[in-house]
């Protein structure tokens, strides 16, 4: 299967197989007007199988979102058909408006216009807690 290489845009590589649609959703890629290729189950020496997303337009990628979903993803910035930059991700210390608190007693549930803030509480276990009420995130990824 061949997918054309892109001239100016972003390639998200080393996505855990099966997770590309989550990333498509959280990065709001459906709102883009350009070509977006989602390539699933690509053979990988390191991972066995992986997903890749190619975005055929320069864009600012929210690295916090990607880091939260999977810090092993690599972000390649392509200019004039050449890779200009390769970014490795880290678990973000703070998430703003990426996920919402599910605790019915939390003020952000009663007042949804407040920024949803989550803070990294345990980097080994990838645990985040609501900055308002301390409720732990129930991760679905």
């Amino acid at each position: 299967m061949n997918i054309d290489s892109i001239q100016n845009g972003v390639v998200l590589d080393h996505i855990q197989a099966g997770k590309s649609m989550d990333i498509y959703k959280y990065l709001h890629l459906d709102e883009l007007d350009c070509s977006v290729a989602i390539i699933k189950n690509v053979r990988s020496r390191r991972m066995g199988k992986k997903d890749i997303i190619k975005i055929d337009s320069p864009m600012e990628v929210d690295l916090d979102v990607l880091g939260y979903i999977d810090a092993n993803i690599t972000v390649n910035i392509i200019r004039d058909g050449v890779r200009m930059d390769k970014k490795h991700l880290e678990l973000p210390r703070k998430l703003v408006n990426i996920i919402r608190c599910k605790n019915p007693r939390c003020i952000t549930v009663a007042e949804p216009q407040l920024d949803a803030i989550f803070l990294l509480s345990d980097s080994d276990k990838h645990t985040y807690r609501c900055g308002y009420c301390d409720t732990e995130v129930d991760r679905k990824f």
């Binding site: 605790n103 007693r105 003020i107 308002y132 732990e136």
Partner: protein, 306 residues
């Protein structure tokens, strides 16, 4: 940015020790502090009913020569018209020099701090945190034991929704050689995140049990709590659990002579009235201490030195 106290961990151990020293000085020399906050105003915004905490804050500010304004029920504020916490705080911070707020929703003071131009003190947010009660508890322990380390403390009752317990466990976990004994029904155990963050991560020993009488002889401090009706969505569950523990003179027979019994109050029936006469009961002294430590905290947050 103003300094806020949302969680007890917003204060370092050194700052807590300094607040306790100031409170002790206030007890010894009240006249020295009587005009310290002249022309300053404290707003007490209580979106949920309270007797002790609100009156304690107001009494503290009045004893410092300042004045107070505010409301004691959300129905007497624009919240009843649908105003957000942010807008209420924005407004009040135009009038007051410092705000103490209580709110039924967890995290409301953290939200308030994002909109305030003056210091915010969390006076209790749902079942989450209550840092000034913790300061009160720490001052009481210090006054009873003359130290904040090297003792065994038992927490008994509702440890799940008991915000004063969460804050006090967090605060004491930063002092040396404290053993925690957690006594509760299985349904009201201390939340996992409090155990993880405050105890397990720091390698602090603790015991969990449902049986108060088996552990009472080993305690230096017993911190009793009320099963809070307002925290339950299901009344049947509240009725089933509300009488889990009732402290009586008979149950205290095997306790140490030097035991100190604390309770954040209000109590319902979890401490029998007969225990009030026991010299080990420290909960009425605790109420008094609450005023002194709040005076110290107001001074600190307003940057006033006496």
């Amino acid at each position: 940015m103003p300094r806020n106290i949302i969680d007890i961990t917003d204060l370092t151990v050194a700052e807590i020790d300094q607040l306790i020293a100031t409170a002790e000085d206030i007890v010894a020399h009240p006249a020295k502090y009587q005009d310290a906050c002249a022309h300053k105003q404290l707003a007490t915004l209580f979106f949920e009913p309270s007797t002790r905490t609100r009156l304690s804050f107001e009494s503290a500010m009045l004893s410092l020569g300042g004045s107070t304004l505010g409301f004691s029920d959300a129905m007497n504020s624009s919240t009843s018209k649908g105003e957000t916490v942010g807008d209420t705080i924005h407004t009040v911070s135009c009038y007051a020099d410092i705000i103490a707020m209580r709110h039924p929703k967890e995290g409301a003071p953290y939200a308030a701090a994002q909109f305030s131009e003056v210091p915010i003190i969390n006076a209790g947010d749902g079942g989450h945190n209550h840092p000034t009660q913790t300061l009160t508890d720490l001052l009481t322990i210090h006054r009873e034991k003359n130290r904040l380390d090297n003792f065994t403390i038992g927490f008994c009752g509702d440890l799940k929704f008991g915000r004063t317990v969460h804050s006090l466990v967090n605060a004491l976990s930063r002092y040396e050689n404290i053993h925690f004994v957690l006594v509760s029904p299985l349904e009201l155990k201390l939340p996992r995140y409090v155990k993880e963050e405050a105890l397990k991560k720091r390698g602090i020993p603790y015991t969990q049990t449902t049986d108060l009488e088996s552990v009472i002889p080993q305690l230096d401090i017993l911190y009793m709590t009320r099963v809070q009706k307002e925290r339950f969505f299901n009344e049947e569950e509240y009725l089933r659990l509300k009488d889990s523990y009732v402290l009586t003179p008979e149950k205290l027979a095997s306790a140490k002579e030097s035991l100190s019994i604390l309770h954040p109050l209000p109590r319902v029936n979890e401490i029998s009235v007969a225990v009030d006469k026991d010299p080990r009961a420290a909960y009425w002294k605790q109420v008094k201490n609450g005023k002194y430590i709040r005076m110290a905290l107001i001074l600190k947050l307003l940057g006033i030195e006496v």
